[in-house]
């Protein structure tokens, strides 16, 4: 059982505890390593909180290495984290982050503030910098409900641990350009939960449409993106049975948009009218 002198005590810091007992992360070797990469995740604010969404695909170069990866995960009761980048270090970072929040809550007897959690994640991303230099880049999104301020808040990160709070939306990963643009265009202040889910789902659809590393909804295998909201009621995942009709709606819309008008009765009517006109004309002559 780890027992420390007061001057040497790691406090409520779990990663520090891991280092003290010799289980800290180590980076060795050099050069780039080809590992599976997780791709597109988004988060946006709506009236009651935030919605987070992420596709399920992991890629290794041009290959799909995993179809049902969960990149959007619950961090604790009132926050979630979404990760793009090297899948291995990313999942490990999520695991450690979840554990750190719970460890802190147990040792201190009360949970970290939302800002404290965002800061903690920032330090973890910074800690990953040596690995990032070798290509194992991990870029998360952190979002949650701030119980003290009673609002949803979200943060974007960069490789160095830079932490940027955003007011409207954040997108990360290879499809983030497309997903972000869709949200940017469709964003309204104080959307309802339903509207926010629709917009996030739409952004992932468009990202999957334009980016080969982002997976779309896979109705054949029954794999849908992970979508969840965080409000004053806590973390609420949006089930596949709720997501499936939303994607079907988008698919129907795309179908209508991209189907050329059929050469059926419509054209024939026009032709008939012309014929009539000509007939009339000939009559006049």
């Amino acid at each position: 059982m780890p027992f420390f002198a007061p001057t040497d005590d790691p406090g409520a810091n779990f990663p520090e505890l891991l280092r003290r007992v010799g289980m800290g992360p180590g980076v060795d070797g050099d050069g780039h390593i080809d590992v599976p990469h997780a791709t597109t995740c988004v988060a946006l604010r709506f009236a009651d909180g935030v919605v987070m969404a992420g596709d399920r695909r992991a890629t290794s170069g041009n290959l799909i290495s995993h179809r049902s990866m969960e990149k959007v995960v619950q961090a604790d009761s009132y926050s979630g984290v979404a990760i793009a980048g090297a899948a291995g270090p990313a999942m490990e970072m999520i695991r450690l982050f979840q554990l750190q929040l719970e460890h802190y809550e147990k040792v201190e007897g009360s949970p970290l503030s939302l800002e404290g959690k965002a800061n903690q994640l920032s330090m973890m991303v910074r800690g990953n910098l040596p690995a990032a230099m070798q290509g194992m880049v991990v870029v998360p999104i952190f979002a949650g409900y701030d119980l003290r301020r009673e609002i949803g808040r979200l943060w974007a990160y960069d490789v160095t641990g830079g932490r940027y709070e955003e007011r409207e939306y954040v997108a990360t990963g290879s499809g983030s350009l497309h997903a972000g643009t869709v949200i940017k265009v469709g964003y309204k202040a104080a959307m309802t939960r339903d509207e926010a889910i629709n917009l996030s789902v739409r952004s992932l659809w468009e990202a999957a449409d334009a980016d080969s590393a982002t997976g779309g909804p896979d109705a054949l295998r029954g794999i849908y993106p992970i979508v969840a909201t965080v409000t004053a009621d806590g973390w609420q995942p949006v089930g596949d049975d709720d997501l499936a009709p939303r994607f079907r709606e988008i698919a129907d819309e795309v179908l209508v948009r991209s189907t050329p008008p059929a050469p059926g009765p419509g054209r024939a009517d026009v032709a008939d009218e012309r014929d009539d006109e000509r007939d009339e004309g000939s009559d006049d002559a």
Partner: protein, 225 residues
């Protein structure tokens, strides 16, 4: 040069045990009771902020009586051991028995090797997936481990309290009944404990992954009726 007086080892141990027992007896007691959905822990604790009962892991709770700083140090060590084990292996591999043994090691070592024994008694409780798997380990100041099935009493006046508990205990108590029994056993016939003097927490099978739940004052008021 002066030689220290010879003191028989038996006497040293007895003195230490007396010292620890006196320290513990000064504090207020707590009880743990098995109920239909898990384990309820009821502590007499006038402080709103300094806790006697707390969460160690998904299915494991910790409770301590005696010197606060000493059992709090043990509590934190327990959380660390549990989180490290769960991180290194799997969450399923963290169990109360291992923790209880580790606590016993620490308490035993301090009792024999240090100037002053720890003036604490602690409880490590684990709620099983089924009622049969519920476990309670009561660890004394000298590292003695006692495993208890239905009820456990820690702290001053333990004998009288456990007598009162045994009278009222039955298998499959509802939560409200278990808490009322615990409060009555702690108070005894001549006293009435108010909400402000009580700290109640449960390890409940129906509480999701993290079974530990602190019962807030208003909810406790409802339970006590």
């Amino acid at each position: 040069m002066t030689m220290p007086f010879y003191v028989a080892p038996e006497q040293v141990m007895k003195d230490r045990a007396d010292y620890a027992r006196k320290g513990i007896a000064r504090g207020r007691a707590l009880v743990a009771i098995r109920y239909v959905d898990g384990i309820a822990i009821v502590a007499e604790n006038p402080s709103e902020t300094l806790r006697k009962v707390s969460e160690i892991y998904d299915r494991i709770a910790f409770a301590g009586v005696g010197r606060y700083n000493e059992f709090d140090q043990l509590r934190v060590a327990g959380i660390r051991a549990a989180d490290l084990k769960g991180y290194q292996y799997s969450r399923d591999d963290v169990d109360a028995r291992t923790l209880a043994n580790q606590f016993a090691q620490i308490l035993g070592t301090v009792f024999t090797h240090e100037m002053k024994p720890m003036e604490v008694e602690i409880l490590v409780a684990e709620v099983g997936l089924e009622p049969d798997g519920d476990q309670m380990f009561h660890i004394l100041y000298d590292g003695t481990v006692v495993d208890q099935r239905d009820t456990a009493v820690l702290g001053g006046d333990a004998e009288a309290i456990s007598g009162r508990l045994a009278e009222g205990f039955a298998d499959g108590l509802a939560l409200a009944d278990a808490v009322r029994l615990g409060v009555a056993a702690l108070a005894g016939p001549d006293r009435e404990l108010t909400l402000a003097e009580l700290e109640v927490a449960t390890l409940s099978r129906g509480n999701g992954r993290r079974c530990f739940h602190r019962v807030a004052d208003d909810a406790l008021g409802d339970l006590l009726g």
